[in-house]
């Protein structure tokens, strides 16, 4: 009689111990799922792991075959050299027609996302990273610091980077690059205290004969 009580007590205590220690939240694993077939895709999703024997490094996101171009791709063939940069300052072939007539405000949001943390909200080269002394020597857009830049050379810098600035071509697409550069040009005018290039375009259009003005307008739409 006495023996069975002891066994019972031991059993009860060990059962309690099992219950107490089984409450283990392992936060590093996702845990169980119902009907796993509906949770995990049999086809490869973005970033899903793949078989290392089939895909290099077991990554589903492989580099496209060399020479592949994405839809809406605009070639930029100026080389990433000092000569290429100098060339871009003298030639404006890459600048889309109607650049000056674009609305600078369209690029403001994009500028805030991609440029403002270094170049500053006002384009004075005093963004938050400069204030925090993470990246120093960031130029403002005013003519005193950057006397000879052109929209085409700015595009060159966005594509390839310059100095400590890296290439932003992978993050911003063609249209967005020009929207940003257009906004940068309005900031440059603001820094210099000169009128925005858009204003002179409007004046020209008013002065030009009606037919020509229409032609410019059509051209703008085509490129937009």
């Amino acid at each position: 009689m006495k023996m069975t009580t002891v066994i019972r007590a031991t059993l009860a205590v060990s059962a309690m111990a099992v219950v107490a220690t089984s409450c283990n939240y392992d936060n590093s694993t996702p845990g169980y799922t119902y009907m796993d077939d509906m949770y995990t895709s049999p086809s490869l999703e973005a970033y899903s792991a793949a078989d290392e024997d089939i895909l290099k490094n077991g990554m589903s996101a492989q580099k496209p075959v060399e020479g592949t171009i994405p839809r809406g791709y605009h070639p930029y063939e100026v080389p990433n050299t000092n000569e290429g940069y100098a060339w871009s300052k003298q030639h404006s072939d890459v600048v889309p027609a109607g650049f000056a007539a674009m609305d600078p405000a369209e690029g403001k949001e994009l500028y805030t996302i991609f440029c403002a943390h270094c170049h500053g909200d006002k384009g004075d080269g005093n963004g938050i990273l400069v204030q925090n002394e993470k990246i120093l020597g960031v130029p403002g857009y005013g003519s005193s610091r950057l006397p000879d830049i052109t929209p085409a050379s700015a595009y060159h810098v966005v594509m390839y980077g310059k100095g400590v600035m890296g290439s932003h071509a992978s993050q911003i697409n063609y249209d967005e690059r020009w929207k940003i550069i257009r906004y940068v040009w309005s900031l440059r005018a603001e820094q210099d205290g000169t009128p925005d290039i858009g204003e002179s375009v409007q004046v020209e259009e008013e002065e030009a004969p009606a037919e020509e003005a229409e032609a410019t307008h059509e051209e703008t739409e085509e490129h937009a």
Binding site: Y34, M38, G137, G166, S167, S170
Partner: protein, 465 residues
Amino acid sequence: MFRGHLCVKFANRSTESYHLRSLMKNLYRFHIRLIPLMLSIFAMGFAANAQSIEGDAAAGEKLFKTYCASCHKLDSKAIGPALGGVTDRRETDWLYSWIKNNATFRASGNSDAIAIFEEYNGSVMPQFEYLSDEEIGNILAYTANPPAKPIVVSDGPVVAGGEADNSGMQMWAMIILGAIFLVLVFILATVRNTLRVVKGEEPITVVEDASNYAKFLRKNTGFMTVLTIVVAVAFLNVTYWYLMDVGVEGGKGIEASYMPPHPEPGQEAQYGEQPIAFSHKLHAGENQIDCNYCHSSARHSKTSGIPSANVCMNCHMYVNGSEITDEAGNPKYGGERSPEIQKIYDAVGWDADKLAYIEGYEEKPIRWVRIHNLPDLAYFNHAQHVTAGQVECQTCHGPVEEMEVMYQYSSLTMGWCINCHRETEVKVNTNGYYEPQHDKLVEKYHGENITVEKIGGLECGKCHY
């Protein structure tokens, strides 16, 4: 006590350095006043040297950071050579000519100028003709004699882990209380047995006690029934919430919450460890980099995009973590590169000493641990929410800018999705692209709130197909 002691120590040090600095400043002013005197005393040969070294180093520091620091550091090579003590290595006139217009200087056939240009692979230094002689003198004075950095005393809370330790403390308190309880039971039983012995009765062991209670319970069937029902309901309740939680990997959507709780304020989430100790708090919080800068495909694509390492390199070509300081203001990594940032360099093959990509390097992709994982049975599109819907990232992902370690903030259950679609109003005024459709909606539901539900946000086929 200890912290108070520390503060006093810091305060002493800071006043000390303050005295030192003001002394230095006074010396400086005295020096500057001396310059014209010196110039008149010493003949012309000395003039050029005196001009360069006697500049205002404090003003020079500001100029250096504005114009030079993007390519030059004082103590190490960057895009251009290290400039600390450059006045010892080059003639002052040479430096002035180089800084003002290095292109014409090189064209004039100066062999040193051409040599340094070629040593740095023909990186073109901009011309600084707009800097005055005095400004250049200040910059050179700074490179020759940079003012010592004042020791930073942080007033903020030093111990962030204090609250984190609490949970451990609580567990120990529970164990100690339990032990005290057991000792009390033992003492009471002993006292009762002693009393029984005094009264001339048999002492009762704990086991006999327990069987007595069991007998009492067995007699009271009514009480037993109620007890059984209560226990059964509690058990079913726990089971129900446990089953509801299966497949839910985060969030606080389910009230009973048998899931990893959100970290308390000041406590760090201990979730899956990432290959690089990346801190969203540092990047998106302190340095205020927009979410869309790194996750740039969220605006255009179904997935938000884990940034590829070239996006990291946009900043980390320059920022290598050597500037990070601890709470006392001393360099955290002893002025060396952060080992975490070195992991990016190892992944992409960046030679941080030569500041160039290693040719033919086999890149080693970084295997980030996935935190958010929506089941395949549901369709979700980031661009639809971020660009068209203009939903803030934080609405679903929570205060990412405060997260040292990323965790899943929302439960990502269907109930959670549906609830948001019922409550969120469509932004009819701020989205020009959809204006015609929005105008029609406003006309149709005049006055009523136009929620996502009203534009089909609850249709099964929107997410399941």
